[in-house]
Amino acid sequence: MIVQEKLQAIIDAILLTAEVPLTIEKISTYFDADEYIARQDIKEALSVLQESNDRRGFELIESASGYRYQSKEAYKQWVTKHWQEKPQRYSRVFLETLALIIYRQPITRSEIEEVRGVAVSSNIIKALREREWIRVVGHKEVPGRPAMFGTTRELLDYFKLKSLDEMPPLAEIQNIDQLYPELDFSSSDDTDDIADHVKH
């Protein structure tokens, strides 16, 4: 049995870390049947949480797709500074994730993780979607119905390609060292981020 105050804290933690807005229905799936959480309990917890942020920098917003924490409009001037300095380059994980979506689409996040061998952070997926380079093209019919990602027109435009066919085929990628002989592609353990090689 979870008391109302604990329920609030749990939902607080869930909303803080959620990548997408959550409906009451969806939130109820976070609890097991033997925890006996009624929709009404969740609703009450949410309304307490909505009232709890007067002195804070964020608020709980309810939209058509559900409940979501977001920073308050009043502070956007400062929040914007996260992106004020132009980031120099994307991380290797970012590039590899994008490469996999391009070459293996439609692909789910866990399929990407399987090939890469390590986790793909939600920030990367978010950033790719924000740039409108990838989009959800469907859901895979496996438990959890994970989203499948594919590339967009915008991505092609960005690289000034007419179609993805203009991307070099895999065979050529294997020999990319010969394609761009001026770059040093030695793949030893000690080479630094691949981006270094590309940029110089």
Partner: protein
């Protein structure tokens, strides 16, 4: 031996000090150490190498690491190595090296010691040092595993930032970077045979995404609607192959109410709901 109470296995059956076994050692491994040959591979998989196996043998007998009965342990260890050989297990070189080391220590201990070389290291010293260091790190690695960590025990806040859209600057990216990134993945995939990445026409995969996205909007589409004849023969083939690929991956279903009726394509989710 002073701490025989802690070492029931050794001192019970053996009156002579283990170091001077003299060609007549305890050959029979204790019952609880016996591993059926069929299980050996699985058993060995749970070890992180020869030091780990040795540590296990020592712990299993509740022996003080500082007082390893070399003869005893060597016999057992060699027993395992022999078993690995009989069932033709791909024997890691490291296990053989350890076996050789144990045999060497054993033989040196059988040699008479001279009084005047007491500053010479006990042949076991080096091994004990290594075992101790290894045990230390083995233990602490479990402690590290227990530490609370991101993505398992806690997560970072991920709330929606409200910002001035027009001011958000994004990094540039070169096409070559993508190629390199993918080459990198391929290199890794090469090392891992379970991930097969074959050459595949990219346009097909792109078209797969496209069809799925259209199905999201309209839920069901007539088969013929999928094709755009203005793309020419190549385009039609790409679409067709994409549909087949989607079917193969169970991402779409094809439905037809009766023979010669129109064929429809729907996403797999549609049909299960």
């Amino acid at each position: 031996m002073t701490d025989s109470a802690d070492q029931p296995l050794i001192s019970k059956n053996e009156k002579t000090p283990f170091a001077i076994v003299d060609g007549n050692p305890l050959l029979v491994p204790p019952e609880d150490l016996y591993i059926p040959p069929q299980a050996l591979e699985v058993f060995l998989d749970t070890f992180e190498g020869p030091l780990d196996l040795l540590l296990y043998l020592i712990k299993k007998q509740n022996l003080d690491i500082l007082n390893i009965p070399i003869a005893e342990i060597t016999e057992q260890y060699m027993g395992y190595v022999e078993m690995m050989r009989t069932i033709k297990l791909d024997l890691a070189a490291e296990y053989l090296v350890m076996a050789a080391l144990l045999a060497e220590i054993k033989s040196r201990m059988l040699l008479p010691r001279h009084e005047n070389i007491d500053d010479e290291d006990d042949p076991r010293a080096e091994l004990v040092k290594r075992l101790q260091a290894y045990e230390q790190f083995k233990q602490v690695s479990y402690d590290i595993d227990e530490l609370g960590r991101e993505g398992r025990d806690f997560w970072s806040s991920d709330i929606e930032p409200i910002y001035q859209q027009e001011e958000k600057a994004l990094p540039d990216i070169e096409l070559e970077e993508i190629l390199l990134a993918f080459k990198n993945i391929l290199n890794r995939a090469d090392m891992n045979v379970s991930h097969e990445i074959q050459r595949e026409a990219l346009s097909v995969r792109e078209r797969m995404s496209h069809i799925l996205a259209s199905l999201q909007a309209s839920h069901i589409m007539e088969f013929t609607q999928l094709f755009d004849t203005s793309e020419g023969k190549a385009g039609v083939v790409v679409t067709f192959v994409a549909v087949l690929e989607l079917l193969k991956e169970h991402l779409v279903d094809i439905v037809q109410s009766e023979a010669f009726a129109p064929i429809y394509l729907q996403s797999a989710s549609q049909s299960t709901e």
